[in-house]
Subunit: 193 residues, 4 copies
């Protein structure tokens, strides 16, 4: 399959998942609206972390797919697995919004980090397969090594956030935010690419 097709379908899933995040924001019905809006800060925090994370994975996905000339069947299904994790993101985002300040905080932030970890592992699987199958073009050996390290770091970060969820849920959410900021910052290889 030509990768334009794959990119267009993936873009659709990314665009829908990122836009659905705002649907999860609670719409308080009571009369003291300022107060009610202020008390649902967990929903805003979860929204921002998820929005940035989907945005970043979209940017990275593009940088990867742009370098793949043709997708084989394995790449197609590894990519489908990645999209499954991406499409799931609005779900743990809603769980965190509902539970960050109550007894379910550990479970909610653990599921949140686990979905991000699944996404990062799938992304790495797409990357490793494309690299091994020699489908990546236009990168030097140094760039390949650098990007492999940078991509690999992702799931170490998210696994740490997952572990942290069981002891300090809010810190786990904050770590997920910090990971997003880390990937937002300019990167040596991105400048070279």
């Amino acid at each position: 399959m030509r990768t334009e097709r794959l990119a267009a379908f993936s873009d659709g899933v990314f665009a829908i998942a990122i836009t659905l995040l705002a649907l999860e924001l609670p719409r308080p019905e009571g009369d003291d609206l300022w107060h009610e809006l202020a008390t649902q800060w967990e929903a805003y925090a979860a929204f921002i972390v998820s929005f940035l994370t989907v945005g970043i994975i979209w940017v990275n996905h593009h940088a990867l797919v742009d370098r793949v000339a043709r997708a084989d069947r394995t790449l197609l299904f590894l990519n489908l697995l990645l999209l499954m994790w991406v499409s799931l993101i609005p779900w743990p985002t809603a769980l965190v919004a509902d539970h960050l300040s109550n007894d379910g905080a550990e479970a909610a932030t653990a599921v949140f980090s686990a979905v991000f970890l699944g996404m990062a592992l799938s992304f790495s699987a797409v990357w490793v397969h494309a690299r091994r199958a020699g489908q990546l073009t236009g990168l030097t050996a140094a760039q390949l090594a650098h990007l492999s390290r940078r991509n690999g770091r992702g799931w170490v970060f998210y696994a740490t956030a997952l572990g942290l969820a069981f002891v300090a849920p809010a810190a786990s959410l904050a770590l997920n935010f910090a990971i997003a900021v880390y990937y937002l910052l300019p990167d040596r290889a991105a400048r070279l690419a």
Copy 2:
């Protein structure tokens, strides 16, 4: 109509339907979140089967549309019928999630399999029409015959799952999962194509 247009619109519907599946996942509100998340395994099972099935039909749809040079009016409307079944999928997925463990299990899994059967029959109709109208290009007679058999098998499988729903709903869902895995596996013609 040029098939790029048809492909782009179809891709949109596939991408939206597959991303909406996660919206159906229940968001438990109680305090014992781990326990509540564990008891809604039916929702996860239905989600995975539906996600894989939409993913596979997207891959197959692409392989088909890529070989059609121009779409006539009949193909356009057979394709629209296929998209109608695809867009329906989140609905029986939610029914299975809600009813797999209670008295509605037969009805829910029967509707689930019936929607997949409708989708498979529409896909076959698109395929048969495109083949008869000589709109398929770049395939040998042997490949055509092989793909016709492979596509035809789909609705036999789903009809079996539909029948099974009335006696063993969970087995029917498991069969739908097995069908997805069957189509995920590499195929002789796909390798040739």
Copy 3:
């Protein structure tokens, strides 16, 4: 603006609106699922009429946009008006599903037909503007006249369905279905085009 851009954005709105229709289908929670599914036939009827109508307007929209070389500002905003009506369709569809068998049937089917009428009028406005501004290419005078008549007929049909809603709501819904079938049938000009 180049019309590819306009077409891609419009396709997105059409694809989303048509896929959201199935989200409106009620998901009964009770135990006698067969019975409950059977009693919500109004929802299936409204779904099918709306799905076919959006599908047809998409096909006609494409046939139109494909013939426009460049869109001016007026065309852009008439098209936006058309998309507004299209995006509204899931809303009256849900109203009809909820009210066809109770006291709100007249209001629900009237709003349903009024939204379709608004869509047809906007479509005619796009068509008339593109024709007057000389933006349509590749059509003979006879084809132009034929298509103008065919497009013009649309809003007469929907205005009739709107009037009928106040005396016979179910007949109004049936007429909307018949209009969809009429536009599904092959057309002389479509064959020529």
Copy 4:
């Protein structure tokens, strides 16, 4: 990153956000449907203002992206920020629909205008960055100056609407409508472009 990619992803988010607006329209369940539909005029007003605003920002976004040859990393993330505000719009739209006629009117219209202000500021940030980085092509100095003024005016307008929300919520919504109409009207530079 090539800007076609950026444009396609952004188009997806715009198309989804604009189509989701209609999902927020309330579906009254009672028997006196005409009466209930008439009493929810706030929802229609908020829908129309939001639909026009997203439509206009889409048109302007396109005019901008069409002139950018290649997007750098900063542009990519400023654009992502813009899309975040756009994806949020269905949320304050629902708040205004629910609260315009009760005690929460100030808060609802203030959040509504604040989201539009955030969108306008992000748009200006994209514009200013693209201009400073010399990424805009095909515009004369006079056109650049004119468009900078026109874009800059946007956030002054929305800041005024935000201030007005605290004293006259309905007037604030009306001002947001007037801003949309202002940008709908033909513009000297748009005619030149």
